[in-house]
């Protein structure tokens, strides 16, 4: 299995931000997107995850292969940590959450209401959801926000386990994860030229 992105152009709010993006990700590989704020990293990730259509180009895998984690963790504060994860395990029909709890050191917190967690603990819960999905391609947008050094190490270990199992990871991050094997792609050179753009986007056709 490989993720083959060819000639990808993406738009944010109707304005093209990046164009002509090409990259290939084989099983067991990780790719980190770099670039200044606002260059379009999140838009690329949302497009790859299938949340918005590309302006041009193709994402070579169907959206059922992707697990997406954005800036928000999608945590329900009135449910416990375990209930939050069990919900996603049932939605993705995988049913195993113990490995995910252990991978992000959440076992001791599993019966606590998610609303009572700290920001870093919430993020760990959000990332534990990726393990629960059981999907081959992890698409992660700034996964390390509000994580401390030891939690970043937990995250890097979880990504490594995922890659060792034949998975792939595509992420946008600014900090060094200690994932030496991950390739880095700077997206700034792909910035879209001044648009000769028809702003009728056909959304309502």
């Amino acid at each position: 299995m490989e993720l083959n992105v060819t000639g990808l152009s993406v738009a944010r709010g109707g304005i093209p931000v990046l164009e002509g993006l090409d990259f290939t990700l084989h099983a067991g590989e990780a790719l980190i997107l770099r670039g200044p704020n606002g260059v379009g990293k999140t838009t690329v990730l949302r497009t790859v995850a299938g949340l918005q259509p590309p302006l041009a180009g193709t994402v070579g895998l169907e959206r059922e292969a992707m697990a997406y984690a954005g800036h928000a963790d999608g945590i329900k504060t009135t449910l416990t940590v375990r209930e939050n994860l069990e919900f996603w395990a049932e939605i993705f029909a995988t049913g195993r959450i113990d490995a995910a709890l252990a991978a992000f050191d959440l076992v001791g917190l599993s019966d606590r209401a998610a609303g009572a967690l700290s920001a870093g603990q919430k993020r760990r819960l959000g990332l534990a959801r990726m393990v629960v999905t059981g999907r081959p391609v992890w698409v992660l947008d700034e996964p390390t926000v509000s994580l401390d050094a030891s939690a970043v190490a937990l995250f890097a270990a979880a990504v490594r386990t995922h890659l060792a199992g034949g998975g792939m990871a595509l992420m946008a991050t600014h900090i060094d994860l200690g994932l030496a094997e991950a390739r880095i792609l700077d997206v700034a050179p792909y910035r879209a030229k001044a648009p000769a753009h028809d702003d009728f986007d056909g959304s309502f056709l």
Binding site: E64, G70, A72, G74, I75, K76, I91, A93, S203
Partner: protein, 218 residues
């Protein structure tokens, strides 16, 4: 799919979920009406079917913006959109959860509230039947409105304006069933119209809701 339904119901009944909101609003409307129009039970009996239907409709409207707004704010809606669950199933389950937590309590409480408005005794069964048949349409149409306004900060006003005209046919035929029942007339025709509206909405609107939700998530 069952997991999503159970989660939504669990969230609704836990603290801050707004489960009793519609019911409490319905109670307030029904209790206040006799103060407004006077305690004449003859007059109350005449207006009771309309007031009860209007109260049920407005309490339904009150909780509509919660259907998607909470999931959108905390990011779950993006995650659900990438989950192996068709968007049509997602919006249908959301509408069903809304009906179970808002519509069903209204239907069950309506005989008690009818008593407060001295509805004639032969009107109870038609009232309950009309509400049981009509409130699913309110939830499904409301889910469509909520999908249209998802992502708008404080979109509640726009949501009400969009949804109210769509609620009018349900209100007309639902209240007509209850009124005819209370007067001992035949309820067959408005009941058939009400059933038609409800089943039509259930069959068609999830596709429209799913389509606008996809556009709104871009």
């Amino acid at each position: 799919m069952k997991a999503l339904l159970l989660r939504d119901i669990r969230l609704a009944v836990r603290a801050g979920g707004g489960f009793g909101l519609g019911l409490a609003f319905f109670l307030i409307v029904v209790v206040l009406v006799p103060f407004g129009v006077g305690p004449d039970s003859g007059l109350l009996a005449v207006i009771a079917p309309g007031i009860l239907w209007l109260g049920a409709l407005l309490s339904c409207l009150l909780s509509l913006d919660r259907i998607f707004a909470l999931d959108w704010e905390d990011g779950s809606l993006d995650l659900l959109a990438t989950a192996p669950l068709p968007m049509e199933a997602l919006v249908s389950l959301k509408a069903l959860a809304h009906w179970l937590t808002t519509g069903v309590p209204l239907v069950l409480a309506s005989p008690l509230f009818a008593l407060l408005l001295s509805l004639p005794v032969e009107g109870y069964l038609p009232l309950v039947i009309s509400l049981a048949l009509g409130t699913p349409a309110l939830s499904v149409i409301g889910t469509f409105g909520a999908a249209l306004t998802v992502g708008l900060k404080r979109g509640g006003l726009l949501l009400s304006l969009l949804v109210l005209p769509l609620y009018v046919p349900t209100l007309i035929f639902g209240a007509e069933v209850a009124r005819r029942g209370a007067e001992g007339l035949d309820t067959g025709v408005p009941l058939a119209m009400l059933a038609g509206i409800t089943f039509g909405a259930i069959a068609l609107l999830p596709f429209a809701s799913a389509a606008v939700l996809r556009v709104n998530l871009r």
